[in-house]
């Protein structure tokens, strides 16, 4: 049976939701950010804003410089998550098994159902129509013999398009594809390749795999395979997790030590929660601090067997934090636990068993009633810090940079 994959990618997802919520924003350059401060970054922007060169990840001040008429809207993560769930349910009406790649991207293996709908393109049209009718949003669908081709196709067909590349067309399609269209080719790799005259995937094929391995090591092999249209694992579940981290950018630069420490504690709690979900312990802690002048410091320290306990991770993080001489205001903080390993043995000390039981029940409650239904009382006044971002996910999405 011929394999057919869909990559369904919502168009300018957060910004589009805000444009539907507030119809007066339609047709205008809109950026969704974590906050209204110029220090926040653009999480998503409308196509009208993209015309000015605004991109996700850019600081609001930079975006406003490019487009002074830009309308900055504070993001509403709950709204986007709930809308995603609805979108996924619509897609599941066509095929129960979907592979969620991110909040607004899904892969679907439609090999066994597309013919029932009169072909892959007809099925894509039906999915697009249903999402548009029920949610009011547009999406782009890439169709290919593997996830890589499907993802490239959806990116090319944006906004609101459908693009199909069949197995027999892959070679020709990849030949003329600009290298920056390959998922994961970041600025660093792009620059290195374009400096030596490699602009298209066809050029990569010409120079050969060994040349790229010499240039980029193991990543070179990946780039070569991608350029040939060969799928490497793209799905997050297949990637080993080396570290789990969270970061937070303050609305305003701060030197309020108590608030900074509470924020670190909050980040440690979030890291611990994710470690428990994955059944992991770690051996390293990395503390990242970005200062008001954009300089930063990153310190890594080895602690043997760091358990998935926010309090204990915080104690280690505090140890690192205290060793840093800080004389500037802090803009952002990140914490990660690295060198993860599976934790599958039983505690024998009463106190540890007690805490393990406590975490088990807290996690169950939060799973049932929503994130952070139960959390340490000390974090009551750092509600802002609840909106942390996972930089593990960022790293995953930018795998080759």
């Amino acid at each position: 049976m011929e394999k057919v994959f869909f990559h369904i990618d919502m168009d300018a997802y957060f910004a589009s939701i805000e444009q539907i919520t507030n119809p007066f924003l339609k047709g205008k350059p809109v950026a969704v950010s974590g906050g209204l401060s110029t220090k926040s970054v653009v999480a998503s922007c409308s196509y009208e804003a993209k015309k000015y060169g605004i991109k996700s990840g850019m600081s609001i001040s930079e975006a406003l410089f490019l487009c002074p008429d830009l309308i900055v809207v504070p993001g509403n993560p709950e709204k986007y998550i709930e809308t995603s769930k609805e979108i996924f349910e619509i897609i599941k009406n066509f095929k129960e098994e979907i592979e969620v790649y991110s909040i607004d991207e899904v892969f679907v293996d439609v090999s066994d159902i597309y013919y029932v709908h009169g072909g892959a393109e007809n099925l894509a049209v039906k999915i697009k129509k249903n999402i548009k009718k029920i949610i009011g949003l547009t999406c782009s669908i890439g169709i290919g013999p593997n996830r890589l081709i499907a993802k490239i196709c959806s990116s090319i067909s944006k906004p609101d398009g459908i693009k199909i590349v069949k197995t027999e067309e892959v070679e020709k399609f990849m030949e003329n594809l600009p290298i920056e269209e390959i998922p994961g080719i970041g600025e660093r790799i792009y620059k290195k390749l374009s400096d030596i005259g490699i602009e298209k995937c066809g050029d990569i094929k010409k120079v050969g795999k060994n040349f790229l391995i010499n240039l980029f090591g193991k990543t070179g092999e990946k780039i070569y395979n991608y350029a040939c249209g060969i799928e490497e694992p793209l799905i997050n579940t297949e990637l080993p997790e080396f570290s789990i981290g969270h970061s937070y950018t303050f609305q305003y630069d701060t030197d309020d030590k108590e608030f900074i420490l509470k924020t670190i504690f909050n980040l440690c709690e979030k890291v611990a929660e994710r470690m428990r979900k994955k059944g992991k312990h770690g051996n390293f802690i990395t503390l990242f601090l970005r200062f008001d002048d954009f300089s930063f410091i990153q310190k890594r320290k080895k602690f043997n067997d760091i358990p998935a306990d926010g309090k204990l991770i915080f104690e280690c993080a505090l140890n690192i934090f205290s060793s840093i001489n800080i004389n500037k205001k802090i803009r952002a903080i990140g914490i990660s636990v690295g060198d993860l390993f599976d934790f599958d043995y039983q505690y024998i000390f009463k106190e540890k068993i007690k805490r393990e039981k406590l975490f088990y029940h807290i996690d169950k409650i939060n799973e049932k009633f929503g994130e952070r239904t139960v959390f340490p009382a000390i974090l009551m006044d750092v509600s802002e810090a609840k909106k942390t971002h996972s930089f593990y996910f960022w790293k995953f999405k930018n795998g080759l940079t």
């Binding site: 919520t21 507030n22 119809p23 504070p74 709204k79 009011g136 009633f369």
Partner: protein, 81 residues
């Protein structure tokens, strides 16, 4: 400009076939006739389900939430145009 309000308000709504249609809201002693629900989404707070709506009277966008267990309508935010 978006302004956080977070006040309990009076709402006139029709509940029909599992749908909620908001007709008017009263806030600060003024009645606003609602022309359209522009967006709706569900959230949870503890074990309570919250129905959120973005609605417009043609001049402003109001974000309101409804908790069925408490029968409370709350005006969360106003987008002033």
């Amino acid at each position: 400009m978006i302004t956080e309000i977070n006040e309990i308000i009076k709402v006139g709504a029709i509940f029909k076939n599992g749908n909620i249609k908001i007709k008017w809201i009263i806030w600060n002693g003024r009645k606003y006739m609602i022309k359209k629900i522009t967006y709706k989404w569900k959230t949870k707070k503890g074990d309570k389900h919250i129905y959120n709506f973005a609605i417009t009277d043609g001049a402003s966008i109001f974000e309101v939430s409804f908790i069925p267990e408490d029968l409370i309508w709350n005006l969360e935010k106003i987008h002033i145009l």
